[in-house]
Structures are given as C-alpha cells and as structure tokens.
C-alpha cells in the first residue's frame, strides 16, 4: 500500500496504520478468540461482551489511523480544522 501513499507520509506511518487496521479486522474475523462462554461479564457470556467491547476498540484504532494519515493543511484557512 505504501507505494500508493499520498505525499508526505513515511512508510513507517503506513506500516503502523496497516498494523492497527489489521488488528481491528482480525479482532472479530478470528472467531476462535471469542467463541467461548467464559469469562462472563455479569450475566453476559464472553462471546457477547467481547464483540460489543470490540466496537469501540475498532473505532479507536480507526481514529488513531486517521490522525496518523491526516494531511496538514498547506495554506492556512483553506481547510476547516
């Protein structure tokens, strides 16, 4: 992916983003991680609370990736925020 990288981002940044997003996807793609009953969280079997917990985790991983890849505006004032 790095060779298609937009200008200004180092291969290292792309490497980190690739790892983060791979973790986000594998967290629910690799079913044996969470296809189990224990440990329960209150009344919830692991299978359920793990998946619900992975939702914010994947969101945070995407957000970090976004911050890493964000382009700094070249001209002040052209790009909001």
């Amino acid at each position: 992916m790095a060779k298609h990288a937009p200008a200004g981002k180092s291969p290292a940044t792309w490497g980190v983003v690739t790892v983060l997003l791979t973790v986000a996807i594998m967290g629910t793609l690799w079913v044996p991680i969470y296809a189990r009953y224990e440990p329960k969280l209150g009344p919830f079997p692991f299978f359920y609370w793990y998946q619900l917990f992975w939702v914010p985790v994947s969101a945070v991983l995407c957000w970090i990736s976004y911050l890493l890849l964000r382009r700094k505006p070249r001209t002040r004032g052209v790009v909001p925020r």
């Binding site: 992916m1 298609h4 937009p6 200008a7 200004g8 997003l21 986000a24 996807i25 967290g27 629910t28 793609l29 690799w30 079913v31 044996p32 296809a35 189990r36 009953y37 209150g42 009344p43 919830f44 079997p45 692991f46 299978f47 359920y48 998946q51 619900l52 992975w54 939702v55 914010p56 994947s58 969101a59 945070v60 991983l61 995407c62 957000w63 990736s65 976004y66 890849l69 964000r70 382009r71 505006p73 070249r74 052209v78 790009v79 909001p80």
Partner: protein, 568 residues
Amino acid sequence: MSHFNAVSFVIVIGSFLIVTYIGFASARWRPAEDPMQLNEWGLGGRGFGTFVSWFLLGGDIYTAYTFIAVPALVYVSGAVGFYALSYTIMVFPIVFIFGPRLWSVARARGYVSPGDFVRGRHGSQGLGLAVAVTGILATMPYIALQLVGIEAVLTTMGIGSATGNTFVRDLPLITAFAVVAVYTYLAGLRAPALIAFVKDTLIYVTVIVAIIYIPGKLGGWEHIFSVSTAHLNSVNPATGKPYGSIVVMPAGEWAFATLALGSALALFVYPHAVTGVFAAKRRDVIRRNAAMLPAYSLMLGLIALFGYMARATPAVNAEVHANGGNPQLSVPLLFEHMFPSWFAGIGYSAIIIGALVPAAVMSIAAANLFTRTIYKELIRPNATAAQETRVARLASLLMKVGALGFALALNKTFSINLQLLGGIWILQTFPAVVIGLYTRWFHRIALICGWAVGMAYGTVVAYRTPGGGQAHFGASTVPVLGHVTYTAIIAVALNIAVSALLTVIFRQVGLQDGYDETRRADYTADPVTAPAAPTRTRTPAGPPTRPTAGTDRVPGGPTAPAHTYRAP
C-alpha cells in the same frame, strides 16, 4: 392476532407526516447552483461534511430489514445471528482502507456510481455494464425487503391484516411508498440525508430505552440468557438437531467468519453504500466516519440482543407461533408487549422510517448506475446533464415501483432468497471495483469472464442449497473442502482465479486492453472547494462557486480536472 391500538397508530402517522414534510422541504436545503446536474440530484452536490455523512451513512447501511431480520435470526438460531455485529465491526476498517481512494477518483473524474468508475478505469463499456446490472439486480430485492420490514410492523399493529382484499390490505404500504417516491424524485439524495436525522434519533432512543427498560421487566439478563439457552438446546423437530447455540460452536466458526467477512466486503461495493461515500465533501470525511460510524454497530449489537429478549417473553412466542412461526414479528411484538402503547408507537416509527431512508438511497444509487452506465453509454451518448438528471429521477421511480411489485406480487420468501443472492452477486463486482482501485494488472475481458463465472457459480450453488424447509435457496453457506463457507466468498475466489488465469493468457495472446482514463494523482486527490461552504451562499452574479464535478468528465482526455488540489 394483535389488536389495533389508536395511540400507537397516531404516533406512527404523526412521525410519518413529519418525515414527509422534511422530505419535501429538503428540496430547498442547500440549494444548488444548477439542480439539473446529476451529482446534485444523485449525490446531494457532493457537499456533505462529517456530521451529515455520519447520519446519512448510518441511516443508509443499517436498514430496517437488518433491525427485523438480525434479531429474528438470533431469536431462532442464537449466536450465529451475531455475525452481523462482527461484520459491521469489520466493515469500517475496510471503508477506511478503500473508501478514500474511491472517493478521490470519483470526485476528480465526476463519477457518480461504481459503474462509471469501472468503465473509465478499465476502458470497458462491457465491464461497466456488468457492474451496473449487478448493482441494480442486487438493489431491487434489497428495497423490497425494506417493505417486508414495514409489513412486519404493520401486521403487529393490526393494520391491513383484517381484510382479504389485496389492494386494501396493502394500501398503507403503497401510500407510504408513493409518498417517498415523490419526494425522492424531487429532492434526490438531500431527502434521505435530512430524514436520516429523524430515523437515527428514533432508533437510538428506542434502543437505549429498550435495553434499559425491558430486561428489568423480564426478570434480568440471567433469566433472558437461560430461557434462550434452553430454547437453543432443544431439538428442532424439522431437522432433528438443536435450534442453535448460545456461543458459536467450533464447527460453525468458519461459516461465521466467512459470512462476516463476505458481508463486510459486499457492503462496501453495494451501490447505496458507494453513493453515501461519494456524497462526502472531503476525503477526510470518510476516514473520520470510519471511526465514528461504529456507534451504529453498537446499536446493532444491542438490537440483536432483542432476539433473546423476545424469546424470554412468553406472549411474543405465543403470537409468533400463532402467525405461522414468522420470527420477523418478534421485535415488533416485543415492543407491543413490553412498552406502553405510545412508546411502542415510537419504536414502530423507528422501524418504518428506518426503512424509508435506505429505500430512497438505494433507488437513487440504482438510478445513478442506470443513467451513467446504461443510458449515457448505450442509449444516448450525447445526453446533457439535465437529460441525465431527468432520466435518473424517472429511473428512481421505476426502481421503487419495481420493488413494490416485488414485495406485493411475489412471495416474501422470494424477496429474501433474492436478497441472499444479491449479496453473492454484488461481491462479484469487488475485483473490478476495489482491486481496480490499486492495479490495472487484470485484463478487462478477463475481469468480465471472472465476473460471469462468479455470478453463475453463486447462483447455481445458492439455488441448489436446501435448508430451513426449502428445497432451494435454503442457506447462504455450503460445505467446501470440509469447511462450511459463505457462498459469496467461494464465488469471488473463483472469480479472481479465473480473472488472473485469463489475464495471463490474454497478455500472451496480445489481446488489446482498454484505455485507462484515470491518472495516478486522481486516487489521492482532495479537491478543495475554496472558500469554505460555498453551498450556503448564492452569488447572483459571477461564476458558480462550486465546481460541478458532473461537467468535467472528459472521457479519454488527458486534461486535468478543473479543481484546485491541496496536494498533487
């Protein structure tokens, strides 16, 4: 059967009227310089920022059918229904990776649908046509299923089931759909974008209240899980096996994972999702939303748990049984029995309006596909922007009429089977669209052959799979090499293999490849509509402030798009 409740009914009618008003008013929201550009009607002027896109994409891809069918699957079969949560978790990293490139090239070249991107990238009308036809075929039953979702609510409300006359019975459904069709015709993508605010608010309110209020009334989560486990472990007389399991069994893990992955990849290439992505204002909007849209996945996870709540409610089980064992009624019935009638009305409205937003976006997406890839390419190559827009509006009406016909004339099972097929079909456009974003190594004719093989294989296998009491289209998974696998994944693997093999052969033979009209910089382009927010201010004199992307499409031309670029 369920009894008619005046309070619920008034709430539902009230919300429908509010939404109808918003739908018509949206035609005047952020008025365009030239409303007869296809990217105005069909993509809301490509002007939606992070906030609006969040509501639009959320309201678009979490459809009413999902809210009905996912808990219904959990209600009957348990853990396997949670593949939907797994897939909506996975889809956003996928959008994060592929979305910005697709958005950039569409913005730079004025593409409004995956069909015209594929045509331009691979220089192949045939491949563009294949993608467009697949998209339309897969979308039509998906719209019909939104109607099935509405029907489940209406049945629960006791509307339209008392008479045997088909027309009278379906009148509420026809009316609702006709109204949506009219304001979509007038306002285009602006209508569902605004209505999505109402939809999403209603859904969030309903889900949060339900998840706090209902478990206490049912005796707590411990009780809900134990009743559900008892049901899932009991033996289904039809199959002689247990109904399901509370946790995915080792034997079911591969099916679960491939279903989730296949559905996530398919969702990204569904025309309505692509339309939502194309409507974004800036490249950044897509990545930000990939991080913020999972809020909806959390909702979906909680909605899936409604299936267990319904199972733990004896009155729901009794009524589902009385209705021929139709599990799709489980969530509306849960609302009916657990909530006071006014709040049940809110819940019903959430599902009904939840059906209207995706139905509108889907019909617009299909109309964009038809207009650019079929009408403009094959019927009238010299069509002006205004003609394109008129044709797209009519096409959106036709899509709705077709879907209504589907839902009313054909057996409901038929729509569901077709939607199952639709998921398999749409994934066959993945190589041309998504792999095409990165490489042109594949030969255009090889891609067409691969697509044809994937479509044929997927259709035949789905047809020949029995299950659930049906001889055909019984399940979306089949055993391959000892692993039960989602048919779409096998079909797309075959598709890619055939494409690769034929590419090698065609290159050896020296078969001519198509002309790629896109440039490398297009894929990372981020046109800035300087100065900020030109859409709100109208300057009576002077040049248009917003670039109209629909006009800068120069097929085959080396001209750089007429935008200012932040980074080349």
